[in-house]
Point group: C2
Chain length 235, copies 2
Amino acid sequence: MFDLIAFDADDTLWHSETLYTVTQDKFVHLLSAYRETDGIEAELYQTEMRNLRYYGYGIKSFTLSMIETAIQLTDGRIRGEEIRQILAFAREMLKAPVELLEGAEEVVRALSESHPLMIVTKGDLFDQESKLARSGLADYFTHVEVVTAKTSATYQALLSKYHITPGRFLMVGNSLKSDILPVLAVGGQAVYIPYHITWVHEAVAQPADDVMGYFELEHIRLLPALVESLSNAKN
Amino acid sequence: MFDLIAFDADDTLWHSETLYTVTQDKFVHLLSAYRETDGIEAELYQTEMRNLRYYGYGIKSFTLSMIETAIQLTDGRIRGEEIRQILAFAREMLKAPVELLEGAEEVVRALSESHPLMIVTKGDLFDQESKLARSGLADYFTHVEVVTAKTSATYQALLSKYHITPGRFLMVGNSLKSDILPVLAVGGQAVYIPYHITWVHEAVAQPADDVMGYFELEHIRLLPALVESLSNAKN
């Protein structure tokens, strides 16, 4: 048995990246009045990366980077009314209903009956807490951790904090870079469930199939059976 | 003895509100090219309050509200170059050196030798963690909690999480609304150390002097003596 099963949230339990790509499309469309659309996305991504060490992740950071990129790519000609539209995009993202991935609720409910569950999510504290509250899933989780980065040191600190032996910790998520590799590095086990879109910042090479403690599933619905088989194998 | 002594951070351990007021002055000056300066601060405050439920606290939220207010108060005439200046204000705030309040470091160091210490701070996770890292104080604190609001329920949850009896918990801070009243409400003790500026959103009436567990100090340097006298009184 695992002493703790942890889940990433964005694109593991509920849709998130789609919200960013939809907004990015609107942003490109907005700027198309000023210039060709080629290169707008790349410029926005560069701005985001440059700002990451000041802003961190999340919708507010993304919005500030959109505004900066809009000013830059229009040589300051962007009008107040258009910046207002970018602020409206942000508000739409922040108010968007939380759409659970298909099967997420029943899987989380089922596993919560046999294991303590935790959410480990990166990003903006306010926004993540708001989404968890609106998701209807909050009651299934014993612990919620919003962190600024998901490195091996982050997971090591969480395991110490909750007195969990690495080998009895399972992390489930859609990002190899944030949810899988750093967990394997500290001796935990990890289940990779890819989402149909991966933010380029999170894209890294996959571990080999035979890496200890690494599993890949096509769908979250398959998780309870995997947890059960791993538990049986160990008992 | 207390089982846990918790500190607010902004304007309790390091200067923060001054950074906001300096920036606000620059913002008013920026808009003075478009309109009379009277009422600009009030309008910004109203925008911040309206956005609080979407953005939460912190510099990024403040910046998005400045941009929105600038567009509104200029009827959209604000220029890209000026919005760029507002973004530069934000970056200056985020990069500003962390200036400790006089005496904060030696008090925290001294108390950390006899008590587990915790930081309980409201606001943006990324910015608060960055400030704590830059403050040089991180090693004195056993626990750090960045929360989205400081209500009685927040403190109740923290006390449960760390298995602390309310009567053996002491909170130290500069906001009656966030650091003192909700702690007294759950049966904890609280030390109010006023800062020379209070954000109007945090301003509330002071408890009477004879309220159980409530103390007021003029300076953080007086804290160790108070903690010692309270500990002696109880033993």
